[in-house]
Amino acid sequence: MKNPQFSYDIVISGRGGQGVLFLSRIIGEAALFQGLMVRTTETHGMAMRGGSVLCFARIGECMAPLFRHGAGRLLMALHDSEVAGGLRFLGPGSRVLVNTREDPKPDLIHVDADGIAASAGNSRSANLALLGAAVTLEDFPLQEHAVESVIKGTGGDRITEINLKIFRSGLIEIGREK
């Protein structure tokens, strides 16, 4: 079993153009804001061409940006066809957040992130609804105020307001299901 002093390892999966890189960036900046060690990976080149994209974020002590299969604690899937691609990195006790409108299945936490983002007025920020949901998980190392402070630094006033709303809606949707 993992030693708790080591990193909290996250897999982010999605398709090119869904904001996988943006999400890993927000996670990294929020960890930095909290004074935590963090490493994230990005996919460039083909990532902009609509293919499957996997990114990783490690919060806590580590030297490499990748981790072993079975070491991941959380999978954030921005597309429901991209769940399988990330599962092999997860270990016992891990959680899966998936952006989908389908009815919830056991072991997966479903978030209608696209729906939340569209109704708030920025379809491109569905990833933030998923991050809002992640913040409600008890072992997730990032705090609500850290993520909000990073979101506030990312765009113009209007977009920032919408993005904060999407992030908070993710928090509320999962809070209600609990």
Partner: protein, 622 residues
Amino acid sequence: MSPEQSDSYPGGGPVRLLLGNEAIAQGLFEAGCRLAAAYPGTPSTEVLEALPAYGALDLHLEWSVNEKVALETASAASYCGLRTAAVMKQVGLNVAMDPLMSLAYTGVVGGLLLIVADDPGPYSSQTEQDTRFLAMTAKVPVLDPATPEQAREMVHTGYRISEKYRIPVILRPVLRVCHSRAPISGLRKREKGKDASFVRDVNRWAATPSFRYHLHEELNYKIHSVLKDPDVVSSYTLSDASVSNAPFAIVASGLPAAYAADILSQSGMENEIPLLCVGVPFPLDKGRITSMLDGCGRLLVLEETGALMETLLGGYFDIFGRFDGTVPAAGEMTPDTVALALAKLLPEKGLAEETYTVSQVEEEQDEKAVTAPPTLCPGCSHRASFWALKKAMPGGIYTGDIGCYTLGISLGTVDTVLCMGASISQAAGFFWSQLKKDETPVPIAAVIGDSTFYHSGIPALLNAVQQGAAFVLLILDNGMSAMTGGQPSPASGLLAGGGHGVPVPMEEAIAGCGVKHIKVCDPLDSDSMVGVVEDAAQVAGEGEMVVIISRSPCALIHTEQLGPRPVVDHEVCNECRICTDSFGCPALVWEDEGLTITPVLCTGCAACVQSCPIEAIMVREL
């Protein structure tokens, strides 16, 4: 920023979360680099892209036309005593090997750092080649960073070594170092270098073969001396585990050293297995390694991508590595590769079991798993160009090239992809092969992008024309290197550091290669495009070279809506699926009600209209 202003950067400042490539750029700025020349290529591109933000007015930045030109340009500024950098991906170094081999002999004055990003996997390249072997071939030192933090420090180390021994130095980050982010400490004050001055020395800078022999002896002396350099000596770090009691020791360079460190500490074995990390894998100090690991005869060698240290250490130790299959001989090394290698040597530790813990939901999800392959973007004009080519020259041989348009494979119009510029030379080779089908010559078309054409297509075209080859050359001109994020092509005249240089129009370059038939057309105007390609095929069939410039901006960069979205008449559509199977724009999807055009993806280019044989897709005039 000018050097005089650099006092406003006292060092420190905020820690920033930077990509490895951005950390390298920060190191270049801090070290006082005065000229950086690059050709874009994944995973190296962001190094040069990150430099303009530092605003150093005394730093010349350029996207060179190719890697050879980049290194040659940097070499002369280094002769003048300036710190310089040439940046490229690993296959780019193949193009720049000619100047590198010779530059190792002449040596440098100002520090010259050759930054070459390797792509184990490979994710975005033709080969998995290991740049460290090319460093050994050229007899120049190579630094192998494990993390973005180390990559930034190694820029400084590299310049120190380069200037002290007057030798070019290679910094070789791998993709996971280039494209991972880590906290990087605040900016240091930019070093103020010397003013440029060139000291004539023909026996060095213009050495004839007899002097080259002496320069080679000098190079051998330099590379031997580098081994004793304090920066190189301190790059060998050994963990605290006792060497004499260990079953084996790990010798690792670069990113695999980070994987090994993580796994040893996470599994509580950091005091059992000694880990020797090597920051400079060539030249390798075998004596130092044998003395540091005195009493331990067995090694696990972990390195990317080839077996360089393993080769050099052979005969000194019993080695587990790539040669005996402990580590796979191809593919990216990952934490799992390292864990499996350790598991083979330490079966009692249960490392392999932990590797494949599966989630309960995996089985169910596996059924849904469809890994989406990369595709041409929605609205990409390349798709329309390929469609016209297929329609106008059916049954032809289509030689392809390096860029986004390699993805034309899914349209059936890419038969070969070898390396930069080879579409044109290979088309000539196919022409001279005189292929025939039913007694008729097979038509040949070469397809190349604008940036690749400037990179190495021009000599190939000149050669084909001069030899009398005849085929259709289709240049897909979107005005930039699109796959790497939109760097300007020479035709735009735009410069890497901002501002305008002198545009070099493509038509003039082609005419200069001796081509008599040059057509320019818009691929989104499909009827005329098909006609142009048909005419071109006719002319080529009569023995003349024809070049078609298919000109339309990149849809990824120019995101404005081009026109009204086409609509589908479901009464007419017979679901033949040619539009999705053969044309394949991602905006076209099958829903319960039939074919639909996804509004957020559709750019209104209307190229799909021509793909429908029965006119079920149409643009309604408003």
